[in-house]
Symmetry: C2
Subunit: 174 residues, 2 copies
């Protein structure tokens, strides 16, 4: 495992657990086992490191939701929550913590959310046999809601979203 990926992984974990602003560079260097000079050579700045974390997380997340049905989409979220925990959407959190004023971060968030919405549209089209933008928008809302309600209601929130999505899909088929 090279320096960059070790740093990125450590940063993602600390940002997720304690928040972006609350995580100082010294805790990052300590967790990654590198000096501050090496950190800045690889990351450039704290904002750039956060953007890199988001880009890497987007890759991992999108790979996880490479599915063919809406039900599998929520099953993937159940897995994600079980493995990665549930502390809300790290993308929206980064945007909120920076007030949307850091361009590199705001752009990474926008790219992720666009890609996610497009993926949901594709899954809906595969599952339903035709495109249905209205249903896709509802599934996005359910997914986002499950992610955030899981913070205080745990995996039950994902189950509720999964059941609701099944009803909406059934209705769209009729």
């Amino acid at each position: 495992m090279n320096v960059t990926s070790k740093l990125t992984a450590a940063a993602e974990r600390l940002f997720d657990r304690h928040g972006y602003m609350a995580t100082g560079m010294d805790r990052l260097t300590e967790a990654a086992g590198i000096s501050s000079r090496t950190l800045y050579k690889h990351a450039g700045s704290k904002a750039a490191l956060m953007a890199r974390v988001l880009t890497e997380r987007d890759r991992r997340f999108m790979a996880r939701i490479d599915v063919r049905t809406i039900d599998a989409l929520f099953a993937a979220l159940e897995d994600w929550v079980r493995v990665e925990g549930c502390r809300g959407c790290l993308f929206l959190r980064s945007r909120a913590e920076t007030g949307g004023d850091t361009p590199e971060i705001a752009e990474a968030v926008a790219l992720h959310k666009d890609a996610f919405h497009e993926r949901v549209g594709e899954v809906v089209a595969m599952d339903l046999g035709r495109e249905d933008p209205a249903l896709a928008a509802q599934v996005v809302v359910l997914f986002e809601g499950a992610t955030h309600a899981a913070v205080y209601r745990g995996a039950d929130a994902v189950s509720a979203a999964r059941a609701a999505a099944a009803v909406l899909l059934e209705r769209a088929r009729a």
Copy 2:
């Protein structure tokens, strides 16, 4: 308008726009038009101020969703988003920024989410004519999802949640 409520209002606005950790005490004193000594006499500490902001926001929010139907619940959210903007749930954000390690904040968040869930249960019971905990959980997820999807999709996210909730309610009636 007395000192305390002016401070609380200014703090809520700054915390919401720029994030909790990113908002320094000097910006709070400047926005509230008070000295730092007065701020600490009234608020005690930054964490206590944040908890007070959350308690006040809970009062205002719960008053807004004092409704009798599920549809009115999402209509109220549309109003809220139009008036207060959409930067995600300030309760979950405060919890995330502090890592859940500040008791006064974690407690205020838990109280709010419990009260919200109970209120949704009451609205579902009124609208449906009987209790339906499963439907209530789904409405909570839709509401939470609308709140957070609205950050990047605007009021359309609330409309989508509203339509989805109508379908779920219709299905529960049959």
